[in-house]
């Protein structure tokens, strides 16, 4: 079958996602260094704890900004009502012959998008609070550390699944990050409604 390519992401969408991704990786590595005493050695990757934290702070700004940019780039697809459900998502993970009747984004991707947006928002706000800890007052500030930690774990789990499904789990998806295109077969299988209506 000759490869027919379908456009799925614009250059600016891809660039935003790359910046978001690289900033997340830097944040995760510099952040893990202060997550637990057993991970403290990771701060050595960035030339010691002072530099590691400074990098974490300023990379955080980039991550926070791209969280909004990416959400609004995809807002229409994220908020569009689909015909697929959470059950479809779980089933399509386990059954290769089943394809959810998904639009441009399937139910799972929408869930991920909302969590990435809300999680990025919480990480950014709690992160600023940790950067300037004497602003909020003691009681509230103590919760900021807990929330930053809890949402970090949540984001790591979501991103782990996101990374897997975007690469090894669904071959062909990685092309979106590289060229912004997917094959017609990919579009038809993974996003049949989108393929039928918009492509």
């Amino acid at each position: 079958m000759a490869e027919i390519l379908v456009k799925r992401a614009s250059p600016i969408q891809r660039l935003s996602h790359w910046i978001h991704m690289v900033s997340f990786i830097i944040l995760a590595l510099t952040g893990l260094g202060l997550y637990a005493r057993s991970f403290f050695g990771l701060t050595g990757l960035f030339g010691g704890v002072d530099m590691s934290r400074t990098i974490h702070h300023y990379t955080g700004i980039v991550f926070f900004a791209t969280t909004f940019i990416i959400f609004f780039q995809w807002a229409q697809a994220i908020t569009a009502r689909g015909e697929d459900s959470l059950v479809d998502v779980v089933r399509s993970y386990l059954d290769h012959d089943f394809h959810a009747p998904a639009g441009k984004l399937n139910f799972g991707q929408k869930m991920f998008a909302w969590f990435a947006f809300f999680g990025g928002l919480v990480m950014g706000l709690t992160g600023f609070a940790m950067w300037f800890p004497f602003v909020l007052g003691r009681g509230l500030q103590q919760w900021m550390y807990f929330l930053h930690n809890a949402f970090f774990v949540g984001l790591m789990l979501f991103i782990l699944v996101h990374l897997y499904l975007g690469t090894f789990g669904n071959p062909g998806s990685w092309r979106i990050m590289v060229s912004g295109t997917v094959t017609k077969a990919w579009a038809k299988a993974h996003h049949p409604k989108w393929d039928a209506e918009e492509v």
Binding site: Y35, R37, H96, Q142, N149, A150, M156
Partner: protein
Amino acid sequence: MAGKMILIDTTKCTGCRACQVACKQWNSLSAVATRNLGTHENPPDLAYNTYTKIIFSEVEKNGELAWYFGQHRCMHCEDAGCMKACPVPGAITRDANGAVVINQELCTGCKYCVFGCPFNVPRYDNKNAEGYGVDKAFKCTLCFDRLAMGEQPACTKTCPTGALFFTEKAKLPEIASSAAQRGLKVYDGGSLKTNVVFLLKGEPEEYGLPAKPAIPTPTFLWRTIMKPLGIAAMVAGIFGVIAHYSYVGPKDIEEGDGKGGKH
């Protein structure tokens, strides 16, 4: 552990604040501008260069004035919130005497300990616009350096009335029973098991002490629950993904019949 403790018999305290001065002197701590708070209390608060401060508390008891003297200082908890919060190996340690000490050589200035303390003790020396300040956390060290030489802490050494008394932690039950005979309450931080123990005539709050001291709930959830749970969840997530790839396999659209299947 052959721990030590500072016993504070508040009934013997006269509010002379010699302990504050001795602390500043031994630890070479600079002076802080005083402020009139309407009491004899000064300096205004604990600071990176003020490790201890006498609390002057005026309370009404049965229609009469009671003047209580408390002390705001590091309590050297055996279950220390600052140590729980600290992310740097070795930056806050407890020695054999029970002294909880911040090592400023290792402190990275994250301020987690400042907010993890149940008694609001550690203070941060912020580098200001003129470049003064070292960006580290400070607090009472129980004069661990004096203890190492067989000396007692500067504050207990100097106390002229014996209100501050340095002794073996093992003597606490004995001291508690004699205090009970005198109608005094023993305040040892409850489950935190502080190595600074108060004998109080009134309620803890009347001495500026929390009635039920505990590691702050968010700090507990963060460091004791979420931290290990998070590591377990992330490791489980990685294995989960590997398991999916191994047992279910990728959903390969482009190979074969277009419906996918195991590769």
